[in-house]
Every structure is written in C-alpha cells, then in structure tokens.
Symmetry: C2
Subunit: 207 residues, 2 copies
C-alpha cells in the first residue's frame, strides 16, 4: 500500500470504499511523526558543536526507523483486518452450523480489526516518548519539526482510540473489551501528559 502514490492514497481515502480509512490515516500520521523525529536527529548530527549528542541522536534515528516500519506496516494491516471482517459477514448461513461458524468468524474479525489500532496506540506512546527526547536535544533550527511529530503522534493515537471504540460494541468477549477499553483510557492519559510536557519544551525553546 505504501508503494502507492500519495495522490492515489488520498483518492482512495476519499472514495466510498472503506479501506483505506481512518485506520490507515492514523497509521500514516504515526509514520510521519516517526519520520520527523529521524529528520531532527539527522539534522542535529550534521550541525557543528553537537558531538556530545551523537550517540543519543543515532539511537533516536534507530528507534524512529523501527517505529516508522511498524506504522507503515499498519496501513496495510488495517485494510487486511477490515477486509477479513467483511469476508466473515459474507460467509454462508445455510445451516445452524454455518451460522455458528459465521458468527465466530465475525467475532474474530472484530477482534483482529481492534488489534491493529491497539498496536498503533502502543507505537504512538513510544513515539511520543521519543519526541520528548527529540524536542529536548534536537537542533533549535528544526525544533518545530519535533513539535509537529508530537501533534502527528497524538492525532494518530486519538484516531486509533476512535477505531477501537467503534469496534468494541460488536465484540461479545467481555474480557477482551474490558482490557481494550482499560488500555485506551490509560493510553489517552499518558499521551496527553506526554504531549503537553513536550510541547512545553518546544514552546520554551522557541521563545
């Protein structure tokens, strides 16, 4: 899916077909956040007088690279999970056994379609922690890019939360639902605090 041009991706996003949709958009926002953190570190390494931070910047480039791979894989994973759910709905209902198998497949489909945004949320929390180090230690010239990374990652996380919330009412496994909703609540709290703290660093260094 990431071999597609940006224009084609946006065209499909805007079309009536359900994928790519909000899940793919969330993953792409996360990937942009990770990409910007790597850019800030690359630029910082290239500036004179930053030798002390070389090791830290190389670590940020490495972690941001892994995160970006995770996020870009989620763009496709989200579409695959959604298509799986749609296929489950199309299973035959010609016997009681078939009806049971279909119902099970639908439940599995909803859980799979919920696991992708949950992975996205976890990657965003990691990205936000990395963005904090980026804002504190990156070069001042690219400080706004660390800030944009925060906004992109927070938007990705909150978008992924919506994608969890729209799926859970259909899931009958209450322990799965409770675990997902607890994770979502904790993630929103952690992400809000982390983003606010990092944006304070950005604003303090900007002024």
């Amino acid at each position: 899916m990431t071999t597609q041009s940006i224009a084609d991706f946006l065209e499909e996003l805007a079309s009536a077909t359900p994928t790519p949709g909000g899940g793919g958009a969330a993953a792409l926002m996360g990937a942009m956040g990770a990409g910007l953190i790597a850019m800030v570190a690359h630029v910082t390494v290239g500036k004179k007088g930053q030798d002390m931070q070389l090791q830290e910047m190389e670590q940020q480039i490495k972690e941001a690279g892994v995160l970006r791979q995770e996020f870009t894989a989620m763009i496709s994973a989200d579409a695959v999970a959604f298509d799986g759910l749609m296929s489950a709905f199309k299973l035959p209902k010609h016997s009681l056994d078939a009806i049971d198998r279909r119902a099970l497949a639908i439940q599995q489909g909803y859980q799979d379609a919920t696991e992708v945004p949950l992975s996205c949320i976890r990657a965003c929390l990691h990205g936000l922690a990395l963005a904090h180090r980026s804002a504190e230690q990156g070069h001042r010239n690219v400080l706004s890019d660390s800030g944009v990374a925060v906004h992109a990652l927070l938007a990705a996380l909150r978008s992924a939360i919506l994608n969890v919330q729209i799926n859970v009412p259909a899931i009958k496994d209450q322990s799965f639902v409770d675990a997902a909703l607890n994770e979502v609540r904790a993630a929103e709290e952690e992400a809000s605090a982390s983003a606010a703290m990092t944006l304070d660093v950005v604003n303090a260094r900007l002024s």
Copy 2:
C-alpha cells in the same frame, strides 16, 4: 510531490534534507482530514434511508474535494518556499548593494515561508467546520472516520502554527509579524472549540 510513493515521501521526510519537513507533513494531515470527510459523505449517500441528506452530502463531497486539492498543493508550496529562502541565503555579499539585496530577499523568503502555513491554518478551520457537519450527518458506521478527520485537521493546524512561530522571529516587518501572530492566536482558539464540539458529537453518537 504527490506523485511520489508514500514510502518515498516518508523516506525523504526522515532524511537530513529539510524538505519535505513539518510543513509538508501538516499539509498531508490536512489532506487526509479532507479525504475522510469526503469518504464519510460518499458512504452516507450509498446507504438506504438517507435520501433527505443527499444534497448536503454532495455539498460536503464538493467542499472536501476543493480543500483536499488546496492541501495537496501546499505540500509542494511549502518545499518551494523553503527552497526560495535557502537560495536567498546563498546570494552574493560582494558589495554593500549586494548585501542589501540579499537581506531583502531573505526577508521576502521568510514571509513566503510563513504564508504557506497561514494558508494551511485557514484551510484547516474550513475543514474543521466541515468535519462538524460530517460528524452530525454522516452515517453511524463511519462516525469514527469523521472523528479521525477532526484529529488530523487539528494536528495539521497546530503543526502549521509551529511553522509560523519558528519563522516570525527572523521577520523584521513588525506589522506582518503582528498580523500573523494575531491570526494564529484566533485560529487556535476557534479550532480548539470547534474540535471539542465535534468530538462531543462523535462521542455522543458512538455511545
């Protein structure tokens, strides 16, 4: 730039080269927001029993399409403005006249590089107003997509604000700076209120 693959765009975003950077990322987030609003309207039109909203949905598709074009054009415009500023810095300084011309070109470059995020901010405000109509009138199945549009547009707007803020300290025309900072303050206030109101609609309809 939008003929580029998503993977290549992300690779360049992550590289040491300054464009695409936070400005391009902001514009792409805005374009995704506009794209999702169009998707919600397309899906809503396709559902039975929504005949009453046909005209409104077609209006949303039209407005979202124009907005998406504006945002995608900004991805390139941001890079062009930044490259213009970099070229101004490279102008010769061999005479007092040349030094004056270079200083003027740099000032113009900073103003041009600030106009792009200001345009992005205006488009995001329009997008957020459209997202509110989308959340209120779109089909419930794609309600989370209206919500993702809000997060993407708010992140784009706040990212564009950072791109204004990092440029203004270099701009000597105080009336330009004052106007830009006043616009930014008003936009943040309007966008926060609009996004909160729309997310309340999304949450109320989700539960």
